[in-house]
Symmetry: C2
């Protein structure tokens, strides 16, 4: 079996106005769907970011994959390296720790690796988890991922160029009306009360047993209030707070002291490894990160300084599932915890995360997922459901999910017409708050 | 497909009187052959140490494997852990860095994991290398592994109990005559001239392009002489010297200075991590080890201190092929080189090492192998040949080797009759040199 064709299809899904330390989610989240089509008709699936610079790199790699054996993931990496050279696609929003040529290579590699594993599994009639050593759990737990948010995106006429893209050919006015976005059911959340209501709604629906609050949006005291309110409302749910490096070291240490006993971990309170290490020495809870340990080059110094207690792996930029499992093995060796990070994603990524999470003995915390925020939109005919706060690990071959080609076409049409070509939370929020300035740390 | 039966068969193969820092190889080297027999008739093969304490642990695990899916290597580890508890089998000769419960678990896990991968490959019609990410090379290079040695073992009547085993039932006199050992063709090597002659003979036969000299036998000056003589005779072959921690730190630093420009690496010159780190700071060449980094617990401190530049992985005690690949990934992350260590072994282990070596981009040095010293004895019908100093990576399913049941029975009969139940190089040499004392460091 050889790969005959690699197809990259960008899609856009409605995204609610979720707030974070760098701005607000735009109305559309971009993803790219990877299909590796084999000469015998099998298709392997992968999913990754859909930003234009990343798409360009995916498309540079895709035609070089013809003839590759899907078991040859070492050969896949060689082809990716050859196609990319020293290319580096920027990580404009910076919420996953910036970019480097090494990280860019692994980020481009990832969806193709996942699609190769999907193909391997389909070919041999085994779920992907079996290719990763077999399941250590039948269900992978996820956390309720809470966001401060507006009730809805401001009206389109308030932001005449929702894509903020300099290329006028991509302006939606040139392409007809922007497709309608489904409203999200969660409403506004700009204080502790709103956050608790959001948690209750999400937990009622999905049964989550852990809660993560995206912070860095309001002054720290108000986010501590939200944590206290969550603890009161959900006394048994492990809680985490992630301000995306919005705080100084002293602020981080103060928040850590004030939330002692409340948090399972504090995630990326402050920028940079030195700051994280200083906070870690003074915080009563472990620090987690998906910002200072984001590629292999970051590991030796970070693990040497004991700056982090939990690494939030993300197969989308760690080079796929096998390399994420290697990361977990490194964490096991250094006695560092492992969980999984999430950006906006669809069901192929959820399936990939679930197979990986099922194979990692080291996964001691519930993983993050944006799934509830995509409000049922997907490219799959039957996305894996989240019930009791977890996803049942598929037993079907490969990832265990099937593409819905009508849905793929519809979400690709969204992409063509939405006008957004690169995620930019900061420019988006400035459409409505021109005084907004990106600052890290902010408090 | 499920495992129906796990069979452990100890074997003994003639071993030449190779000298090292703790004594002399006994006349028989012990190995254990693992067969995982599946309900559909497929058999997976593994190979490991055959010492009695290790055999006892293998046999404690074997009956617990019934019903295991060979893809479920995570489940295999759980079963091994359950069967062993905190068991620790001593590593009496100490040439691979002693033992710990963690290392013992991984050492017992290893042959079963290899046999599971063999089964997986046979089931899906793929060579094991494909289960490790695919081949990055078609041939895996090995080194000529030179030993100081006697021409032949002293006559049996000089050592009435060649097994040195306290159990009189195992004394060969109770079991009939000790089987004849084939003489090795290499003759005596107790000086530089003998070592060069041995190298020439081995390289003429196998085409090796790297040379490793086992040292720690003669005073360091004489081993330096041997290295200089090898350099003169083989100007283009990378050279290594491994005294198995026979030297003090000052001696190690002095030898390192005197061999500057001659050695690819210096292996385990001195005992312990602190000593290795001090030598590393003062040596012009990298230090390699299979004595201070021998299990995951050793890694963080060793890599933090930069005591070693090359880790000699050995899947026999790193928990099998996948965990050895994880070790290689850790080494890659820390910028540390990888090669492979060898004890006396047969063809199943050579096949396993070859599949692993073929899948590791990190393998930058030729691996060690004792294959020439087993003089053609094997449990396989067609052992993988070493030609041009390397082994062609099999393309047949699984490990790509087949058991020769007549040979297995014959080598098992050797085991039953040879009287040796545990490797003990020191007691063996003292039969002929009662004044010999084990000292580490010695010089």
């Amino acid at each position: 079996m050889r790969i005959h064709e690699a197809v990259v299809t960008p899609v856009a899904v409605p995204d609610p106005p979720l707030l974070n330390a760098v701005g607000a989610h735009q109305p559309w989240a971009l993803r790219a769907i990877i299909e590796l089509r084999c000469d015998d008709g099998l298709v392997g699936l992968g999913e990754t970011y859909g930003d234009e610079p990343h798409l360009r790199l995916l498309r540079r790699v895709a035609p070089t994959l013809t003839g590759l054996d899907p078991f040859d993931t070492n050969g896949l990496l060689r082809r990716v390296r050859t196609a990319l050279g020293d290319a580096d696609a920027p990580d404009r929003h910076g919420l996953t720790g910036g970019s480097s040529p090494q990280k860019t290579t692994l980020r481009v590699l990832s969806p193709f690796e996942v699609a190769c594993l999907d193909l391997q599994g389909r070919l041999i009639g085994r779920p992907v988890v079996d290719l990763l050593g077999g399941r250590v759990r039948d269900r992978v737990p996820y956390s309720a991922y809470l966001f401060h948010k507006w009730a809805a995106h401001p009206e389109p006429d308030l932001h005449p160029d929702p894509g903020l893209h300099p290329d006028p050919d991509l302006h939606p006015a040139r392409r007809g009306p922007v497709p309608r976005r489904a409203a999200d059911p969660y409403g506004e959340a700009l204080d502790a009360e709103g956050i608790v209501a959001q948690a209750r709604q999400m937990i009622d629906r999905y049964g989550f047993r852990s809660i993560k609050l995206k912070g860095g949006v309001l002054p720290p005291e108000r986010e501590i209030d939200a944590i206290r309110a969550l603890r009161a409302a959900f006394p048994d749910h492990p809680l985490r707070l992630d301000p995306n490096a919005a705080w100084t070291v002293p602020t981080s240490i103060r928040v850590a002291a004030e939330t002692e006993g409340l948090l399972e971990y504090l995630e990326d309170p402050t920028p940079g490894l030195a700051g994280m290490a200083e906070v870690a020495r003074n915080a009563p809870m472990p620090l987690a990160t998906n910002m200072v340990v984001v590629s292999p080059d970051d590991i030796p110094e970070a693990f040497g300084t004991r700056a982090v207690g939990v690494v939030l792996a993300d197969h989308h930029y760690w080079g796929g599932l096998r390399r994420s499992a290697e990361l977990a093995a490194i964490c096991r060796t250094w006695g560092i915890g492992v969980s999984m990070h999430s950006n906006s994603h669809l069901g192929i990524s959820l399936a990939a995360m679930t197979h990986l999470g099922a194979a990692l003995p080291e996964l001691t915390c519930a993983a993050d997922t944006h799934t509830p925020w995509q409000c049922g939109e997907d490219v799959l005919d039957e996305p894996l459901p989240i019930t009791d706060g977890s996803v049942l690990v598929p037993t079907a071959p490969g990832l265990g999910v099937r593409l819905d080609r009508d849905a793929l076409a519809r979400l690709h049409e969204n992409y063509l017409r939405c006008g957004i070509r690169e995620r930019d939370d900061t420019s988006y929020i400035r459409l409505f708050d021109p005084a907004y300035r990106m600052r890290r740390p902010r408090w």
